[in-house]
């Protein structure tokens, strides 16, 4: 829950770590109906396509940075726009940190622009993102 009046440019949004296990990844691909083998078939992903392990879905990781915004605004604002860019792959077992910060605030529209990121354990930003939310 976030009060518009208390938001300042530069504020960090609460971050959260995600470590997808094989069961969660199975559930996700079942939920979106995605039979792409690199997301569940270890032998195929490593031997046929040369990946170091099972590949995490890009949109799943995009969702993780989306949650940084939706958890931050709660019921106090609505999502106007949201975007993310797949820069680098991540693999089963990796812990990814999702976070963001306030970039702009427009008092005339009560809209707030935030930048978002997903980082791996080495600190590389693998998925940058952005969102605009409108406070009530």
């Amino acid at each position: 829950m976030t009060a518009y009046e208390n938001i300042k440019v530069g504020d960090a949004l609460p971050s959260r770590d995600h470590t997808a296990g094989i069961v969660q990844l199975f559930m996700y691909n079942a939920a979106i109906w995605n039979p792409h083998r690199i997301h569940f078939d270890h032998a195929y992903a490593t031997q046929e396509e040369g990946y170091p392990g099972i590949v995490l879905d890009g949109p799943l990781q995009g969702d993780w940075i989306g949650q940084v915004v939706t958890d931050w605004i709660g019921a106090d604002a609505t999502l106007v726009s949201f975007g993310y860019a797949n820069r680098r792959a991540a693999f089963l077992g990796e812990t990814m940190t999702a976070g963001g910060q306030v970039e702009e605030k427009d008092d005339s529209t009560r809209e707030v622009k935030v930048s978002l990121f997903l980082k791996n354990a080495q600190g590389d930003i693998t998925i940058p993102g952005h969102a605009v939310v409108r406070f009530r």
Partner: protein, 151 residues
């Protein structure tokens, strides 16, 4: 730079897949919410769909024998490209209203653009598509623009 995009490929710009019609169920939203690790009650209870819930609706439902060896369905919207290493690029969505259980939605995917750029490591082909989600009555729900890069 050598032009890789033939007139046949460029002629596909502006074409769309046949619209997909779906009825949103609470259970589908709940499955998506749990599988993505949501914490918000409205998502876990299926009262409202998380922002990227619609992604699964772009997946064609086909039997295994109709899929490629890698498990992917052939993308009928995008013509065969002369560069074969395809990477997911950006996704940008504008939201008009949340998706809720009971919604009857129409999902249309349009090929917006295909263009070539020369990168440091050689030519790149950018493919831009737009997914337009409306209600059956035509009210806007969301518009998602996605890009793929082939190298």
């Amino acid at each position: 730079m050598a032009e890789l995009l033939t007139p046949e490929i460029k002629a596909r710009i502006g074409t769309a897949n046949p619209p997909i019609r779906v009825e949103v169920t609470r259970r589908d939203i709940q499955k998506y919410a749990v599988s993505t690790g949501q914490k918000a009650r409205k998502y876990l209870d299926g009262d409202e769909a998380p922002p990227l819930f619609h992604f699964g609706y772009s997946m064609e439902i086909l039997p295994p024998e109709a899929l490629r060896k890698d498990g992917i369905a052939e993308d009928k919207l995008i013509p065969p490209l002369p560069l074969k290493r395809v990477m997911a690029g950006n996704s940008d969505t504008v939201y008009h209203r949340p998706i809720r259980p009971g919604d009857k939605l129409v999902i249309t995917r349009v090929l917006k653009d295909i263009y070539q750029k020369d990168g440091k490591t050689g030519p790149l082909i950018f493919v831009v598509t737009e997914t337009v989600v409306t209600t059956e009555a035509g009210a806007p729900v969301l518009n998602e623009t996605t890009s793929l890069i082939a190298r």
